[in-house]
Symmetry: C2
Amino acid sequence: MYKDNLNKRIYSSIKKVVKNGPRDLHIPALGNKELQNINICIKENMVSSIGRFTNEFEERIKKLTKAKHAIAVTNGTCALQLCLHMLDINKNDEVLMPALNFIAGANAVSALKAEPHFIDSQIYDLGINTKKLDIYLQKILIKKNGVNYNRYTKKRIKVLMVTHIFGHPCNLDEILKLAKKFNLLVVEDAAEGIGSFYKKKHVGIFGIFGVLSFNGNKTITTGGGGIILTNNNRLADLTRHISNTAKIPHKWAYRYSHVGFNYRMPNLNAALGCAQLQNLSKFITSKRKLYLKYSSNFKNVDKVSIMREPLNCKSNYWLQTLILTSESHRERNKIIKFLNDKGFRVRPVWDLINKNRPYRNCQKMDLSEANMLEKKLINLPSSAILGEKLN
Amino acid sequence: MYKDNLNKRIYSSIKKVVKNGPRDLHIPALGNKELQNINICIKENMVSSIGRFTNEFEERIKKLTKAKHAIAVTNGTCALQLCLHMLDINKNDEVLMPALNFIAGANAVSALKAEPHFIDSQIYDLGINTKKLDIYLQKILIKKNGVNYNRYTKKRIKVLMVTHIFGHPCNLDEILKLAKKFNLLVVEDAAEGIGSFYKKKHVGIFGIFGVLSFNGNKTITTGGGGIILTNNNRLADLTRHISNTAKIPHKWAYRYSHVGFNYRMPNLNAALGCAQLQNLSKFITSKRKLYLKYSSNFKNVDKVSIMREPLNCKSNYWLQTLILTSESHRERNKIIKFLNDKGFRVRPVWDLINKNRPYRNCQKMDLSEANMLEKKLINLPSSAILGEKLN
């Protein structure tokens, strides 16, 4: 009886926010500027891997993030794979990453024949739990000739990949401190984080590499797309070179210096992205207002709260998140079913990656907090248009 | 003196064909239909991995090729990689492929940590030299429990990857016979072959898998794109599943059964492709006329000929090809330099793949014919619009 009441109170609060807006999880806002750019693309006959929009897109992202280099590719998974490849991650490596995470990060590791090694999260920012990780690494790492190995599996551990879950910046100060202590390279999976700032610096530029995504469900979209950020000149040049076909520049000869990945973002997709970027600050403002709307409408609903950005951070609030106080999958699923039956495309957070078939046998630390979070998080309709009128 | 004459005679013949048309190697022909489709995409707010155009594109390709299954992905390299992954190609494999070939095929093999093993070509169709390969395989293959191994490197040899160079179908009857004899799986790299037919059947459907490409330089383009063809139901289902994120269908839960590649072609790119496909037969007709034009204009130029489609084949004539009777790199390069200085973006065939740094130490058979061809082939301006008026 009481639980039915909770379902209904959640439903009613969501409805007050969404009104007649899209009940989907997240849809893009596309308009005339997008059409104009694509018209130019087609009229100029430049839709493929060479063209001014791909360059312009990279320049705009550099300006936004203050990254020294930005390399546009076909999507976030490919971007992560390329970063890890550049750091020589291979079958002899385990890559540390949160278990509470979209599976793409693990797939990028798998593509290189390496293995993910899963670490625990914390409720405060949904990021990795640095305190627990510190203790864990002291236990499992062994150093040989300055290189870290997992003392149990004998695999190398070189990279700590962190994710800004739902756009909320994770605790980069603590992460960088930990990385320094253990001599790990940080790769930021900022796929969900465009427009999010940690202490006034854009996410994705704190580690050796960072990655943004522009999939159709993200804050801005290029259809499919991702970008690699780095401040390292040497890595940037070679990443850019192999992100395409690794052709040696020559007026006509076709010769190649490296194995190329053919991941360059086509001009057609970048044309969409350039238009989208012009509206980014509007989208972020609106998405932050949406947070306030949900927050105020859920203020009087017991047993739930709305996920808020961490201190000293500005989150893009990519996906709005309801946090249940209960830790019951059963309760979570009942609420989600109830809301989906009413047409709201709410969803739980992903199952922890280590619970998916391909990753069941991977190394992992104690994941008690991630397990608890998995049972408590529900994403709400989050399109930018729900915050305020966009046009 | 005489050589200068040859340069000039070639220049003058090309000029008579190209007239005021594009001097580039190959540019796409994009128009209103392309714009209309993209308008729909944007108005329907469907630009990413879900959308009606990606499905429609696959259906249209199935109709054209008569393949049972068609799976649209981000490009031809990714398509080849996915096919080889589906056939379990890994670090223990060598994949047979022509040395005279675009490097993407080798890169797809490398992405899986396998190694290409290079085979010789023949001038007749620019495809692999099956007679030489037959003798070579008798020498190097050793069978253990029904599996082929290279008796020298001990690596498995399971796949023969063949390419329809410049759109000219290679000798599929001989290739299939050879594959049967040695128990090899055939993968057709038909990246350059859309609209090409071998004995009235579209290329790409003869092997276990075939791949088409829609890069910006191809006969039709999706910006960046490729498609996997297969008649095998089981392989098709799983390929489609892992070409995306390998998500297990569920109304809201996010669970995954396999490592996913995130290679699905976005709806935005497929929208372009659907429009392009409607003009394909017009493009092919025009490109075939272009061959006739070059052929007739070069008829009286000594020491050169124009590449002609093999018997019983209908080629799309993706790139028109001048064949020098001399086998001198020096002469070839002088001609190319002369023509480029005049603004014609002609180019030599690719350097043999085994001559590129990443592939110098790979296994290879005697490549004398490929080496000879490398010195003799020059691609001419080949855009569809050069054959006849397209609108």
